[in-house]
Amino acid sequence: MDSRDSAGGKASALPPGVSDFTPPGAGVILDLQARFAAVSRRWGYQPVITPMLETAASVEQGMPESRRDQLFRLVDPLDGRVAALRPDITPQIARMVAQRMAHLPRPLRLSYEGRVMRHRSVDHGEPREIFQTGVELVGDGGIQADLEIIELALETLRACGVAKPVFDLSHMGIVRELARRAGLSPEVQARVWSMLKRKNQANLRELLDAQPGVDAGAAAMLTALTGLHGDAPVIGRAERILAGAGLQEIFAQLRALARRLIKLGVEVSVDLGEVRGVEYYTGPTFRVYAHGASHAVASGGRYDRLMGVYGKDEPAVGFALEMVSLALLQGPPAKSGVVVVSDGGDHMWATIQRLRDQGESVAVLHGVEPAAAQRYAVRHGFSLVIVPGPNGEVSNLAADDSGMEKHPGG
């Protein structure tokens, strides 16, 4: 770490990669979470809460080797053992399901929201504290479970103001099977993933050509994956190009998902060379993009191996919202709420109580001039100011920069 950045600053400076969220930004995020919670509850999902702290050993079990350097570890003052701040909520749910919910009938429908800590480079301002909001459907390995998660993601995003999402469908079964057929060593496989991730066909072909003992047919198919993305007909093209690789069931699943989304009026794209999350996902996956956002706003898929890490193997599928991308898509929040200047009189308190009973947000100021109350309302995003009139009546003022005119009392 650069000592000039950390030690030189004030003692009260935040560590790199974490943020405060002041109003109105914090309210935007909480509002999105509330909409998520409302939709997932209607679909029968029940919230779970997992702890901030786990033993490092437990967390490492559910984490690919390559990501273990992302852990924030600390010594538990209680017993001197190494604990870790949670880097991800889904593995916690896998642990919880194994330890506490093994006896319940399947499927389990669970929702969660929380923040996790991951250590990584902050050179470009990447956050180390990450919002996670999502659902898991545990114990159903059928395509209907994948469909349910995708439809729930769609409805959640619509509730969050994403009117025209683009769903990008992938299937980790394809890259996994082709890599197996090609007979790649783990080191070569890691480099193949990194080139597929960039759709870098030229370098991938070069790399695979240079590997002795790699199955040429499977290698050619892996290379072809860099070009197998686009709209839904890509599935048909892929079936021809990847024929004979035992992928029929996978194509049937992809077709079913694409067909349903198209029927729901959603724009679908397909990306069979997608490898993000390949250590974790085992089946269909999806990422959702929204016009105006330069990153995905949601992602999810099937992961049938994680539950077995903590208990018995069982299928699972889920999705999570990208809260920060979603929040950036929201316009500035509409002004709402009322600032009331109270003179301590009973009639003002009655007004305040009535407004609060109506569900209005009411902030009370004492002993300030109307102009000051208006400035206060503008700066804090309130839409209305109520002041006591000269004859004891109540007057409304608009809270905007220009208008100082009085409105009839009420």
Binding site: V166, R198, K199, Q201, G227, H229, G230, R287, H291, A296
Partner: protein, 224 residues
């Protein structure tokens, strides 16, 4: 982000050496970006005839504009992509801007990486570091922003990692190439979200720029 300009495909081109070559290539494939070369001080050019908006940016910055989604696509040297490692698609080698990134030093000097840490001056900190790690060389990197040839001549660092095109600059400064680290050429870089959200125009561009028309996907270019 729904103003009309976002309907155009936003393309980042590298200012300088590579700009003319890139514009020539695009012109041959149906994208006339020549207005972008006509005015050297302007940085943004609307080219409605091919549905594009062209941004002239520093070569090292092309990956940044594309990764952050300010541009949908861009022409970036594979050296800058290697150096910055941006999270973008790199679907196409463009066959222009051909050169290599190499280790060089004073002509006749003996490169002995096992006598102690080798000191390397470079603009390509990450490439130099990764190459040393891969080779198992102890190393010390001096980050400079240009005129690297000066470093061995002044004793700042006996070795440099730099782009070599013909080797003429090295020769004129009494330097020689020791080892090629990687071949370099310009690539089309594409933003991840744009690839999904502006699928048709981006597919058309990839297909038009592909040397082998069968390798690309669908419609010809210039139809927007």
């Amino acid at each position: 982000m729904t103003e009309p300009s976002s309907q155009l495909l936003r393309v980042a081109l590298p200012k300088g050496r590579l700009a003319e070559e890139a514009v020539r290539l695009f012109a041959m494939r149906g994208y006339d970006f020549s207005p972008a070369l006509a005015e050297s001080r302007r940085l943004i050019f609307d080219i409605p005839s091919c549905g594009c908006q062209v941004f002239m940016v520093k070569p090292m910055d092309v990956p940044v504009y594309v990764e952050r989604g300010v541009c949908d696509a861009g022409v970036a040297g594979s050296d800058t992509l290697m150096e910055l490692g941006p999270d973008v698609y790199e679907p196409l080698d463009l066959g222009i801007g051909l050169c290599r990134i190499s280790l060089a030093g004073i002509a006749g000097a003996r490169f002995d990486p096992y006598r102690g840490p080798i000191r390397i001056a470079t603009k390509f900190h990450n490439i130099a570091k990764r190459w040393c790690l891969r080779k198992g060389f102890a190393h010390e990197i001096v980050s400079l922003s240009g005129s690297l040839e000066l470093a061995p001549l002044t004793g700042l660092a006996p070795w440099i990692v730099d782009i070599i095109q013909t080797g003429e600059t090295l020769r004129q400064n009494g330097l020689m190439e020791v080892e090629t680290i990687a071949p370099v050429q310009a690539r089309l870089a594409v933003n991840r979200a744009s690839m999904k959200l502006k699928l048709k125009p981006i597919e058309a561009m990839i297909s038009a720029l592909s040397p082998d028309p069968a390798a690309g996907s669908s419609t010809p270019a210039g139809t927007a």
